[in-house]
Symmetry: C2
Subunit: 237 residues, 2 copies
Amino acid sequence: MPRTARQPVEVAAVKQKILDVALDLMLTEGFTALSMRKVAAHSSMTAANIYNYFSNKDEIYLAIQTRGFEMLLERFAVIAQEVMPPLSKIKALIRAYLDFGLQHAGLYEIMFTRNTPKFADYVGTPLEPTAAVEKNTALQLAALAAQVISDLISTRPDLKGLDPAYQTVQLWTALHGIVSLYNSRVLQEADEQYTATMERLAADLLRPFEDGASDSRRKKNRNSKDPNANRRSSNAE
Amino acid sequence: MPRTARQPVEVAAVKQKILDVALDLMLTEGFTALSMRKVAAHSSMTAANIYNYFSNKDEIYLAIQTRGFEMLLERFAVIAQEVMPPLSKIKALIRAYLDFGLQHAGLYEIMFTRNTPKFADYVGTPLEPTAAVEKNTALQLAALAAQVISDLISTRPDLKGLDPAYQTVQLWTALHGIVSLYNSRVLQEADEQYTATMERLAADLLRPFEDGASDSRRKKNRNSKDPNANRRSSNAE
DNA sequence: CATATTAAATGAACGCTGTTAATTAAATGC
DNA sequence: GCATTTAATTAACAGCGTTCATTTAATATG
């Protein structure tokens, strides 16, 4: 008797359209400009109608978050598939992360610093599958980074004891600290030479992977089988 | 003829009262609960009246931010004045920072991750002196940490080349990365053993101050004059 | 003391926000 | 064509930061 419902693919298209607009607004006008009414206007519909596709604004945040992870993952994947020494790959990943974080500060904020909904908030709810996509994408990121780090470790006998997963988290938290403090403009206040400092910080992130930098991370003993490591720069200053 | 104006100390008391309420609301109910009307209600006045004491909400954020820095500075000062080995002091500072960040997540957010107004936003405005207090408190924090680090370096010949200011920033960004990712609950998603990981991360922050860990931190990056850095990995792939 | 003058506080309003409910418009099967 | 279901809209609510006109309160002077 009645009007027939649209194909699932059509309703998905509308959802996608909304998300495209939302992400675009987020990237161009920043976090604060993201309102339901603005998204609706740019999508040629009413704010209320968005609630036929998303249960609330948080769900849109979740989707944007996922897109952010996908964007970063894409950059990472390009680097990962290139043929180059593992250490250079790590360096490239670091650079990509920093660039992404500074370039898309608003998006980065949603992903990592804002109290936007996370996967754990949706377990047991109808949206758990959607949230699982977000978590999965993020984990792919970590796995990819861990793989590159693992590659390096396996080709470097002096790094044999390192745990790729831990090294990944360590690198990640350090990178995030730099990006987040920069984007909140606190770093600029505390250090006038913040640009040079950031470069140096980035370079120092490779320190765990330097010559013979392995063992104290491994377990306890670290009495120097490599005493000549720091002899070179005695002329500094 | 007219009604006489209140003593500056009286109007300052009202301002203080407002800030007390605002900080209390922030600490107890979180960032989102901080509205002008709520602050006003808890201060037995109207929202509009707050604008006789603060020009806008941002100015309240700025003040709360300052209070946050003062709170953290107080914790740091207690540790700094204690008599103990420099390395233990650094360890205690690290612990204090982490505790503060996790304990007062909302306040920490205003100080370091939110896009709340910073000193640079007020140069040339009537509020520059107020903002200068904020910046000054933050710089005292950094100076205090740098002093402790400097103490350590001066008592340890093997660390002679380290720059206390840079070490401070490095430590700070790393700590912030941990706190921020934890508070945004992303770390918990990516690493199920996040508690143990955080402990390990905190411990590893002392790595630059380990035995003979000095020199490559001392000056520039050395990629151009050091072609043998990644020679060992020529067998990769 | 009464009054004019000023200070402090208020009430009301504006435009915005996220969200819900009632209503309308549109499309389809019988 | 009609009944029925879907999709979209309009209207409204409560709250937000902020501004402005108004009221309340206090005081120095005639």
